[in-house]
Symmetry: C2
Subunit: 444 residues, 2 copies
């Protein structure tokens, strides 16, 4: 049981504020395991935070010697808040008779669901900085959080995620190949909303590129990617080198089943094995509670779901809707390679899908008619070289049973060859999805 | 912050025992977050425990209402112990001025590295039971731990292991197909010694049996297996039905590389793919920090090591030495099918390997001579039908480079057809392992 010097931030903006703070200092001194307590003076501060302004706070900090762990100290602090009449769990944006933050605890780093130490925002808050300076601390020498942390080795990444899991956090993983755009940002937002911690991986996975494909030319925009992750308040970015992921004797891999042999699987042999292998590797490493995938790559999503169930990863796979440009083009990292003409022409993909969806909404249930409808739209655009157009069961993308269609997902892939380099674009749409764009973009 | 009624067990066998206990009760009453404290009377108890007897204890229990979490309450209790002059970390088997155990905390279950609640042994200790009865508790209605817990669904197993990881525990996994013997027990002992929690899986994995193999006839001895696990103080036994592991649409699997195509891999096509898939599935599910494998199945161990590295599971694979019968036969679940004659004859495998090792120890460095030596011994036993005898690099079992041999592992497989049913036996031995059996068993 090691003694540490800990710092607490105290605040009050309700009732007899000085009395609340004074009583807290006195009570802290009586706690087993807490030695000398030294308090700063109390300072008046205007409310800082979101929502309409609250009454001003009286703030200060205390220094204490303690053998209590950060978690035990937090428990005592919460109990003191409760004693002072604070409702627990504390409603957001309410006056607080007593508010105690654990700012620092020796050199201990805590990154759990209930507690993060050093406090992630202490250094941004003058109402914390001032009393700490008054207690004689050199603020520039104190530890801070940096977000996102950028990690390059699998071991560091596994360790960080382990710490979170060990602290009871849910962890959302967003696997990407970088060249991040709004679609990726939507995955990160969803992960942040649903999970205690969010990790983004940026790794252009050589396994999922075939010999003639664009591995070397795949867009790489790391600095911009980091800015996007920072804006989405991602906790960690894992960006390994290929050699760190696959050593020279690498030979085991994940083999995938029938769902991976049609459409993209037929056109890109080995692609989905490479995808499943890297996703399995990332899930094994990070052990996230949730992993976020865009529906844009619908077949990838189906293969990953199947793999996760077959290999039993206890990770919830969360599909996220396609993010589109205002004219309907699905966001993709490869869109940057489209020439101006192709950029205009390629909206034909979404318009073809939307046209079939429109027919379905009006009662069309014949699959050939639905497909013919979409195909007729595609045929109006000579710049689009169609790879496939399919109507599949939603979810696992299995073949639909014979007879009238009562739903399903249309999937399309086409090549556009007029730009910086040839680009293959994918898109898909559920027949019973509501129209999500202005009428102009929906119209064939 | 929910208020719970918690029970602490208090003891002292050093100094003014009643004063230590009385002061602890008084100090507890002053802790923020602890309400009414009610103490039993103190009772004199002879020392109970291992080692030479210590001075008698004065024991009692207290009931308290608290908003402190179990972890925070534990922190306060440890601080009180320290105040009373107890050395921390507490040396085992020493007089203690104050000893506080958290027995119960409402209906909360805690299973972390630092704390297990309800206290795992409270119900075995009369010095705990008596004061709890005095406080008016119905002991039979109180929660207890049961070890091992037997879990049948992957979801329960994943959740249990998650709880452990979330509590900062290391977790040792011992994957087995049941029919447990001393070899398995040695894996469990090692896991218990190295990890905070031990989980044993018992699953006869259909994927790793070929069409003509003994899946249906593989020995199943579940009740005896559970007794062996209980004796080894295993925390959890996971025993799923095949349908719970593989659903009807199961199709993804782990494909393994070159290490899996020779020896057992050549004789049992698909075997190692099945092994790697189920091991990956168990590692994905349990996410153990350590997993224990016997060296008896040396090629399986090599395949698993490779797979774990390739897919990046952050699990340490721990190889454990072969456990042998006194006459050298390696322990195996299939040994029960050996007829009496074959049981005598089959020691030839170990004697053949030991003979080559003996030659190596005396300076023989020619691989053909070493193999010929072992093969000559095998040839003396007509009941043994040799499948293969190989000398490979230790660890990954790659082919040895040409030239003189400076170490390696001999691997042998042979069939014995004279018993209840035909049995294939495997054995292996490192050339530079020291002799581990009495000379009689070593002699060819």
């Amino acid at each position: 049981m090691r003694e540490a010097i800990a710092y607490l931030g105290l605040g009050s903006n309700e009732g007899d504020r000085a009395a609340h703070l004074g009583r807290a200092v006195e009570r802290l001194g009586a706690v087993p395991g807490i030695g000398a307590v030294r308090a700063s003076s109390w300072h008046e501060n205007a409310y800082v935070g979101d929502g309409p302004p609250l009454a001003p706070f009286l703030n200060g900090a205390v220094e204490l010697r303690t053998v209590l762990s950060p978690a035990a100290l937090l428990g005592v602090a919460k109990a003191l808040e409760a004693e002072a009449g604070r409702r627990l769990p504390a409603p957001h944006h309410r006056p607080r008779p007593l508010d105690i933050d654990l700012l620092l605890h020796g050199d201990t780093i805590v990154d759990t669901r209930d507690l993060v130490v050093p406090h992630p925002r202490w250094h941004e808050r003058e109402f914390v900085r001032r009393p700490l300076r008054e207690l004689g601390l050199d603020l520039d020498a104190l530890p801070r959080w940096q977000r996102p942390a950028v990690l390059h080795t699998p071991a560091e990444f596994a360790a960080r995620c382990s710490t979170w899991l060990g602290g009871g956090c849910t962890v959302g993983l967003v696997p990407t190949m970088g060249a991040l755009h709004d679609g990726h940002a939507s995955l990160m937002r969803r992960a942040r909303a649903e999970c205690d911690r969010t990790a983004v991986t940026i790794f252009v996975n050589p396994l999922q590129f075939g010999p003639g494909e664009d591995f070397a030319a795949y867009p790489r925009t790391f600095d911009a990617d980091l800015r996007l992750c920072a804006a989405q308040q991602v906790d960690v970015v894992f960006a390994p080198e290929p050699a760190a992921m696959y050593d020279p004797d690498f030979c085991s891999h994940v083999a995938v089943g029938a769902a991976a042999t049609t459409m993209e699987g037929a056109l890109r042999p080995g692609h989905f094995g490479g995808v499943a292998t890297v996703v399995a590797r990332l899930l094994a490493l990070a052990r996230p509670t949730h992993a976020y995938f865009g529906e844009k790559d619908a077949q990838q999503l189906a293969v990953v779901r199947r793999m996760v169930q077959d290999l039993g990863f206890p990770t919830a796979i969360v599909p996220c809707p396609i993010v589109r440009e205002p004219d309907g083009l699905a966001r993709s990292s490869r869109n940057v390679y489209l020439g101006a003409e192709d950029r205009r022409a390629c909206t034909i993909l979404y318009r073809a899908l939307a046209s079939a969806r429109h027919a379905f909404a009006r009662g069309e249930r014949d699959r050939d008619a639905l497909l013919a409808r979409a195909r007729a739209v595609l045929a109006t655009e000579p710049r689009a070289a169609l790879d496939y157009l399919e109507l599949r069961r939603d979810g696992d993308l299995a073949a639909l049973p014979p007879g009238p269609v009562d739903g399903g997902r249309l999937l399309v892939a086409a090549r556009f060859a007029g730009g910086v380099r040839p680009v293959r674009l994918l898109d898909n749409l559920s027949l019973d999805a509501p129209p999500d764009l202005p009428a102009a973009a929906e119209a064939p």
